[in-house]
Symmetry: C2
Subunit: 212 residues, 2 copies
């Protein structure tokens, strides 16, 4: 049987490209096979946020200790607060056979690839810049000036898309969800992930041919 350990799946992409929607759709559709990594943070819980589901809420001291003990896969500091990915939750989920999704930016993605070279990375892009602007405007939460700033950042991130394994052009939500799932199914078939199985079939062939 093919290796059924979960895979670590890094998802990045332009804001407005639809990362969050794809990830939610994927988890809703295949709840038994995918789970979202839970971040640790030093910022206080907002209304409705639940410890161990929304985030692992930590004090600065606790967070610093996690860094020192190498308990984080990656971490970063935004607006005076730490955010990071605890290794323990990820490893336990992978062992249980679930594919763990990390939605992070490029710097984090590169850190993760160093610690988990077997991780699979996907970059999500909109079909065109026009569509990206249209989607950001439709959200209605930002003015054109802010959106342009966001686009400038998007463009910088886009330069790094080439470091990712797979590209998904998010034209159709359902198709994008299925593409992510198809990629993960294919990655499970990689020879490098199935050395034990290859060895065991070879050994069995060897033993059958040896006798006589």
């Amino acid at each position: 049987m093919l290796n059924d350990k979960g895979l670590l799946l890094i998802i990045s992409g332009f804001s407005g490209a639809g990362k969050g929607t794809i990830i939610n759709g994927l988890i809703n559709k295949y709840r038994d096979r995918y789970t979202l990594s839970i971040s640790a943070t030093t910022r206080g819980p907002r209304e409705g946020e639940v410890e161990g589901i929304s985030y692992f809420f930590k004090t600065k001291d606790e967070f610093t200790t996690m860094i020192e003990n190498d308990e984080l896969i990656e971490y970063a500091n935004y607006v005076d607060n730490y955010y990071g990915t605890p290794k323990k939750y990820v490893d336990e989920s992978l062992e249980s056979g679930k594919n763990v999704i990390l939605e992070i930016e490029i710097q984090g993605a590169l850190q993760v690839k160093e610690m988990y070279p077997q991780a699979v990375s996907i970059f999500i892009m909109p079909p065109s810049a026009q569509i990206l602007i249209k989607r950001l405007l439709e959200r209605g939460t930002e003015d054109l000036q802010t959106i342009k700033k966001r686009m400038t950042r998007a463009q910088k991130e886009g330069m790094r898309a080439k470091y990712y394994d797979y590209l998904i052009i998010n034209d159709d939500l359902q198709q994008s969800i299925d593409s992510v799932d198809r990629i993960i199914r294919c990655e499970h078939m990689k020879c490098k992930r199935n050395f034990d199985l290859i060895d065991s079939i070879n050994k069995e062939v060897y033993e059958l041919t040896r006798g006589d």
Copy 2:
């Protein structure tokens, strides 16, 4: 739009693992997307074999010239005859958007990967050695002694399965056909195959954010 150039697909595996059946099934099911590479050979045509469909039939001189002119992707000599893969047919098919299937053994596969590093390689294995023997016996064309020899060779080839990109355990024919197709669809989404698209979306974003 994702890169729609065809991919070169190397398929190897134990004899009796079902390579040929999978390849035929794939071509029949997706005739517009897959084609089988046509080999050149110096052996004479057998009854029913058609030039340019079964093989490209060549004299030894013609074949030697093809080798000298670097017109072959890989070649080998079996029982005093040359067999090889002409580059021209493969390249033309790839350009036309078809995925080209090469059914070759490990030595040829390594040669191909050198000339076409973008090629995708798949190794087909039976679910178990017992099933492999059973299938070979059911063919009814070989005695147990010959089958054991074949298995010994299989075991040597199996040692190299780790050099391939993907492993397919051929348990169910239809599933194996779909797995090959799914792998090819995913490979088309690889970032490394879509640098032009990534550049063009980034350029468009850049131009939209610059003007204001």
